[in-house]
């Protein structure tokens, strides 16, 4: 799994210094591979941007503040030679909506791209977008305080949505059938609501060790190849969500707590391959409260040594089976 950031990829304005469309009113326009839009642009696409190759780092670059309506058109890349980014969103305050990318987002061995990459000063607002079949990630969010709403990342060769930044808000975003994780977060304080991760090859949702204080609410994690959710970082929260039918390996869980101080509450974990909710050995200070875990091989599991759930709190849960470091039905899991 690629983890290299994109310090990269062009800071677009500096790289090209090209403004193809400037201030209001909205102008309908066709664009070519390698074009840069903005800053200060208001445009609506009139055709697909195709077929783009690695001849430029980004098929299309948008520098904020700008407003781009893709009007249902897409950036189409050469699957055998894709650029690093299908759409590179740079600067601050880009509004992008109504389109997507196909077959974009490759890597050059140093920089790992994605279908749509958000960099710059952030505060971008993206609505109504589909990123599919990227050579790496679908969405890659490297800047802060962005909003992504009503979007899908499907069939990408790595993660569906990768967030390496903070303070982003995602709502109604689906990550489906990506080869690695559905959502992968390595930043802090992001909020995700009504997201769906299904049919991904690895985890549905993972917060890596560098991710803290993220909140996930009203999410569905179903039919993913490994865990529904894995919380490796500390202080994250999952609430009012469902993890169902995830995993196909002996250790796979609906929700796997590997880090410290995470909270799982009012969530259902059903018929996952091994455990419903599991705190791994070394994970402490986690709170698992008011959840329902049913028909998992073992519903609630705490691997803290000694069978006393050392530092983890399990209370007011509904479950059939539990295990604390080999002690079935241990009283520390309630």
């Amino acid at each position: 799994m690629p983890t290299t950031r994109i310090p990269l990829l062009l800071t677009a304005a500096a790289a090209f210094g090209v403004v193809l469309a400037s201030a209001a009113p909205v102008r309908a326009q066709a664009f070519a591979c390698g074009d840069t839009i903005g800053p200060g642009a208001k445009v609506a696409l009139t055709a697909d941007v195709a077929t783009c190759t690695s001849a430029t780092d980004a098929a299309l670059t948008i520098v904020g503040p700008s407003k781009v309506d893709m009007a249902g058109f897409r950036v189409l890349c050469d699957p055998n030679d894709p650029p690093l980014a299908g759409i590179l969103v740079d600067g601050k305050g880009v509004k992008l909506s109504g389109g997507g990318t196909v077959d974009c987002g490759g890597d050059d061995g140093v920089t790992f791209g994605a279908g749509i990459v958000l960099i710059g000063d952030g505060s971008h607002k993206l609505d109504d977008l589909v990123v599919e079949s990227s050579a790496l990630d679908g969405f890659r969010i490297e800047s802060d305080k962005n909003k992504l709403r009503r979007a899908a990342a499907n069939d990408n060769a790595d993660d569906g949505v990768e967030i390496n930044s903070s303070g982003n808000k995602l709502d109604q975003v689906a990550a489906i059938a990506n080869q690695d994780d559905g959502f992968r977060i390595d930043g802090d304080g992001n909020k995700l609501g009504s997201v769906v991760a299904s049919g991904n090859g690895s985890d549905g949702f993972v917060v890596e060790s560098g991710g803290a204080g993220n909140k996930i609410k009203a999410a569905l994690f179903a039919d993913n190849g490994d865990d529904g959710v894995a919380l490796v970082g500390p202080g994250n929260e999952i609430a009012k969500s469902v993890a169902v039918a995830n995993g196909d390996l002996p250790e796979d869980a609906g929700i796997d707590l590997q880090g410290d101080g995470n909270r799982v509450k009012q969530t259902r974990s059903l018929d996952n391959h091994f455990s419903g909710v599991r705190a791994d050995a070394g994970a402490s200070g986690n709170t698992v409260q008011k959840n329902v875990a049913l028909l998992n091989e073992v519903d609630l599991v705490d691997r803290s040594p000694g069978g006393t759930c050392d530092g983890n709190t399990w209370k007011k849960n509904v479950f059939g089976t539990s295990d604390a470091d080999g002690n079935a039905g241990a009283p520390c899991i309630q």
Partner: protein, 323 residues
């Protein structure tokens, strides 16, 4: 709560029910083939089974007015001789906090209806996971996974299914053959056929999810159904009729829904289907058209205030009738 440490059979439960005008819940372990009598309140202390059909079919019967709290436990059926897992009979029974595994059908909600089911999982059935055969039942937090036919099959009318999921079933996820049912915040994910099938009429589906199903996200074969505020993405496997939403009936409404990257179309109205309303939907990223009406000039169907990339009606691209 009274505790029955022994293996309680039908007789002891019935005796309890008769002894108490309003019986307290008893902790009990039911045997395969047990019938929980009317008025009894039982909380399970362990899993039941494996139950063979020869020992009683259904494995557990809930009489009208009975309450069974499964306490996190499940009915396990015998793979070689599968009974129905749990069958609810009569009127107004309540079932909660458990599941059924390896049965012919995990749960049958039968009788005169008005039953309540909450937190139940039906998995690995040879046929459907859950069959709702009666009317005016309320099912909440129900999951049907890895079943050999459909996940949740609603044959009755005026049922409410809420916060429930059908995942990885061999055929459809959720099927409403009956009419006048309300399905709220339901999901059909990764099923072998469609995510949600509305074969009956007058059903309302709101806040649903259909992703990764092999055929349609939702197929509307009946009439007068409403589908609103749903998400359909990555459904279909290339069959020309596959779509996020496929409409074959009349007078249906699809509104305020999101259709992204389905194979092959976003929202498809088949030829001959009429008087359907499609409004305020978002449809993007489809291999063929985002919005397609099989009728020339859209027939009597209305398409208003949708956001999309490509459209067609009666074989004509970008028709004026699709807005």
């Amino acid at each position: 709560m009274r505790h029955l440490p022994w293996r309680a059979g039908v007789g002891s439960l019935l005796a309890l029910a008769l002894l108490c005008g309003r019986p307290a819940a008893v902790l009990a372990q039911l045997a395969c083939g047990a019938i929980v009598p009317a008025g009894a309140k039982v909380t399970l202390t362990g899993d039941i089974g494996p139950c063979a059909a020869s020992a009683g079919n259904p494995a557990i019967t809930l009489s009208g007015g009975a309450k069974l709290d499964m306490g996190g436990h499940k009915v396990v059926c015998d793979d070689g001789d599968r009974p129905v897992g749990i069958q609810m009979e009569g009127k107004g029974a309540k079932l909660s906090r458990g599941g059924a595994q390896h049965c012919s059908v995990g749960l049958v909600v039968a009788g005169e209806g008005k039953h309540k089911v909450e937190d139940f999982v039906a998995t690995d059935s040879s046929a459907d996971g859950v069959v709702v055969a009666s009317d005016k039942n309320k099912l909440r937090f129900v999951a049907a996974t890895h079943n050999g036919d459909d996940g949740i099959d609603v044959d009755g009318t005026a049922n409410k299914i809420e916060d429930s999921q059908a995942v990885d079933n061999f055929e459809d996820g959720i099927v409403a053959d009956g009419g006048g049912n309300k399905l709220t915040r339901v999901a059909g994910v990764g099923n072998g056929d469609g995510g949600i099938d509305l074969n009956g009429s007058g059903n309302k589906v709101k806040g649903c999810t259909g992703t990764g199903n092999a055929e349609d996200g939702v197929n509307i074969d009946g009439d007068d159904n409403k589908v609103e505020r749903c998400l359909f993405s990555h459904n279909g496997t290339g069959d020309d009729d596959d779509a996020g939403v496929e409409v074959e009936g009349d007078d249906n409404l699809v509104g305020k829904s999101i259709l992204l990257d389905n194979d092959v179309r976003g929202l498809l109205v088949q030829p001959g289907a009429g008087a359907n309303v499609r409004k305020q939907n978002l449809a993007l990223g489809h291999g063929e058209d985002d919005l397609e009406d099989g009728n020339a000039g859209c027939g009597s169907n209305q398409w208003t205030k949708n956001r999309f990339g490509t459209s067609a009606a009666g074989g004509v691209d970008d028709p004026a009738c699709i807005e």
